[in-house]
Amino acid sequence: MSAEESPAADLVDQVTSKDPAVGLQAVVALRRLLEELERLHVDNARDQGWTWQSIATALHVSRQSVHEKHATRRKTTGKEK
């Protein structure tokens, strides 16, 4: 493994970097993590029989927005009829 591929070296670079690109990359990665966690927990809630309204209330968003975002995806992937 070369120096530039070492995760530890990457980490030190990022923590000490004043480069906006590095900080912004962390923001994008965090947003993607958030989306994935939302997907995971919405799926879990639906599998446990939660209504779209209860999920929306728990997420502090409208029923319409949570339904638009997840219902088609769940139907498409065969998780829901």
């Binding site: 995760p7 990457d10 980490l11 990022q14 923590v15 590095v22 990359q25 962390a26 994008v28 990665a29 965090l30 993607r32 993590l33 989306e35 994935e36 966690l37 995971l40 799926d43 879990n44 088609t72 995806r73 139907k75 498409t76």
Partner: protein, 178 residues
Amino acid sequence: MFERFTELARRAVVAAQDAALSMRHDFIGTEHLLLGLIQTAGPAGEALREHGVEPARARETTVRLLAEAGVPATGGQASKDALASIGIDVAEIQRRADDTFGPGAFRFPRPPFTLRAKRAMGLALGSATALGHERIDTGHLLLGVLAEEEGVAGDVLRALDEDAATLRQAVLERMTAV
């Protein structure tokens, strides 16, 4: 839009995601859609295979072209490193999610569609509408990928000496109303 996809078209998109994941690319581009279509039944796969676009050869060419272009094939390591830099351990989240919800429920980073892949799917919808078809099948998806000429799928087909116009004709001949 996905709700109008046929079962085969959905399978092709899932195969495209699998192709991106297996090649460790952190995005789903037109090149991955093309690979998904080649591996899936239906008019698109038939037309491609009949014109000698073999899955193995197309895959090798995709890997080579992206590597030459300097595209990382690290399974999104940059995103994991970026989260590590702010104290988030993705491997630990992965381990706990797998334990609680089963493997595959949580996937980070999940490759997103590129702008061009989205455009190709939009063009697929357009061709379905233009042909008066209710649903979007693999044939429409291939037409969309072929129409998005700037995409890497176009480069892959050119590297394989395939002519987009010929493929377009071939797939149109195989398409029936869906």
